[in-house]
């Protein structure tokens, strides 16, 4: 590979370790591409060139003296603009926080910084992470590197665009209803929504704390694993962060049981279904045991998730909705306002139903298979203009299509990995979810890595990024 920006994160780390490449070279390669491509994609909110160059020089000095902080020391990343950094502006994709400076640093960013990774800048996102398309009326839409007239998906829109266009080696996103997996699907990336409680959320902008998770968007499953390992673990700042060993995606997949859903995913288009079946055949060839499995009421679970999401988001935004309603875009204000009219018993019912729904999923589905294989989204990336519904009455229908297959797993708290699983006849990426029991990220990564080694979809690069 002549352009170091085209390496995967894992390959770049190996080259740094072997001293055949420097962090400065990686950072310059990314900054060159950012200068050439990023503006057209609208992927970045801010680029931090000088800070990144200084951090690369420091990293290279550490490597030369044998004091690298970690295997990721010197790797250039960029992150969704919702992770707090002390004294830095963190916009959350909003006008309300356009000039707001954080007083703390998010645990996930502190961990990545302690490992020596470099932040190239902050990335486009839906306003307050409350939108699944990549539209943001304050910032303009983020554009898909595979076709600039298509959406990236959201809310981690810039994370997906930047990583897919090879502007950064990986990115953090958040996933409350699909905000890592949906853009990963639309942009041809590996995206991991971890188990609720696997990764600390301290210092990350809240949307719906009962559902919020933080995870990586990456070029490969192997890269996603490296990033997830870097950010997971217990945290005194977030009592919900589990004290468990980091997931390990190594090992064979022979004998692992993979289930295809018998119901709940009927809206998926023909090419998406074909991609799912093709992926199942590859996993079967690699030794997995594939069967069809009965599913619970996915549509009902999906709307329980939305009940929780709308109610909690309205609570967090209540003061600003009263005092600064004009500073929201119409779509986000309308979505937040939905929570104002949800009766308290309906919200509490949605929380009470969560335990029985999870127990039923564990007994019914994960009592018979180790992982569920299903579409991430029913369709490939739609056109930007066809999804620009602002705050109209079409909003619930159009936006609902983006997250109907991802949202249920936020409600159930389950880990879900979206992996690149092919392309449509129009050349648009298609992703598939692997879903597992709570804290079974290692098993999902194992399946995903085995599949990607065989299928090699990650080697396809968007035309303008080659």
């Amino acid at each position: 590979v002549s352009d170091p920006a085209l390496l995967t994160l894992a390959e770049a780390a190996r080259r740094l370790e072997a001293r055949t490449l420097t962090s400065a070279e990686l950072v310059e390669a990314c900054l060159d591409r950012i200068a050439a491509i990023a503006l057209g994609l609208n992927a970045f909110i801010a680029v931090e060139e000088e800070e990144a160059r200084a951090a690369a020089a420091a990293s290279d000095a550490r490597r030369r003296s044998g004091r690298a902080l970690s295997p990721l020391d010197g790797i250039p990343l960029a992150h969704k603009d919702m992770f707090y950094r002390r004294d830095h502006i963190v916009t959350c994709g909003s006008a309300l926080r356009r000039d707001w400076r954080a007083g703390t640093t998010a645990t996930v960013l502190a961990r990545l910084e302690a490992m020596g990774t470099i932040q190239l800048g902050t990335l486009h996102m839906a306003e307050f992470a409350f939108g699944p398309t990549g539209h943001n009326a304050h910032l303009g839409p983020c554009r898909n590197p595979w076709d600039r007239e298509r959406i990236t998906g959201g809310s981690s829109s810039g994370s997906a665009a930047a990583v897919a266009a090879r502007l950064a080696f990986g990115a953090l996103g958040s996933d409350t209803g699909g905000s890592i997996r949906t853009p990963s699907h639309f942009c041809g990336l590996a995206g991991m929504k971890p188990t609720w409680g696997r990764v600390s959320r301290a210092g990350a902008m809240p949307l719906s704390p009962s559902l919020d998770t933080i995870g990586p968007l990456a070029r490969t499953v192997e890269d996603a694993e490296l990033l997830l390992k870097a950010i997971c673990g217990p945290d005194p700042e977030d009592p919900t962060a589990a004290d468990l060993p980091a997931p390990d995606g190594g090992g064979p997949i022979a004998g692992l049981r993979v289930g295809l859903p018998a119901s709940g995913f009927e809206d998926a288009d023909a090419e998406t279904v074909q991609a799912m079946e093709a992926m199942a055949r590859v996993l079967e060839r690699l030794g997995a045991v594939v069967s069809t499995i009965g599913m619970p009421d996915i549509a009902g679970i999906s709307m329980l998730a939305n009940t929780v999401l709308f109610a909690e988001a309205a609570s967090h935004h209540g003061t600003w909705l009263r005092e600064r309603p004009q500073d929201y875009t119409p779509q986000v204000r309308a979505r937040l306002s939905t929570g104002l009219a949800i009766p308290a018993p309906a919200y509490i019912d949605a929380l009470r139903a969560r335990g029985p729904a999870l127990a039923s999923m564990l007994d019914g589905v994960f009592g018979r298979v180790d992982a569920l294989l299903c579409p991430t989204v029913a369709v490939p990336a739609p056109h930007i203009d066809r999804t620009d519904v602002a705050g109209s009455v079409r909003m619930a229908g159009v936006l609902g299509l983006m997250t109907q297959y991802t949202r249920p797993f936020n409600y159930l708290g389950l880990p879900a990995l979206s992996v690149p699983a092919g392309f449509t006849a129009d050349g648009l990426p298609v992703g598939m979810q692997l879903v597992g029991r709570p804290f079974a990220e290692g098993l999902l990564l194992r399946l995903g890595r085995a599949y990607e080694r065989e299928a090699r979809w990650h080697e396809h690069v968007p035309p303008e990024a080659r």
């Binding site: 188990t195 609720w196 409680g197 589990a242 468990l244 009421d297 549509a299 009902g300 679970i301 999906s302 709307m303 329980l304 939305n306 009940t307 709308f310 209540g318 909705l321 009263r322 309603p325 119409p330 204000r333 309308a334 979505r335 306002s337 939905t338 104002l340 009219a341 949800i342 009766p343 309906a346 509490i348 019912d349 949605a350 929380l351 009470r352 139903a353 969560r354 335990g355 029985p356 729904a357 999870l358 127990a359 564990l362 705050g391 109209s392 009455v393 909003m395 619930a396 229908g397 609902g400 708290g413 029991r437 709570p438 804290f439």
Partner: protein
Amino acid sequence: MDIDPETIRKVAQAQGILLGSEEAGTVSASLASLAPARRLAERLSFEAEPATFHAILAREGRR
């Protein structure tokens, strides 16, 4: 759940938040889309409580 736009405006207003009529219409449609949630909520036992979910997650973490 079916709540008409005018009622939604009043509910929001009672919380100090003003909604336009179009916005209230969008909220009404959004609330109506939540209807499938009732299928599961109506099956809940009298004893079901939110903490059960967290207990199951904790148990799974120890597996």
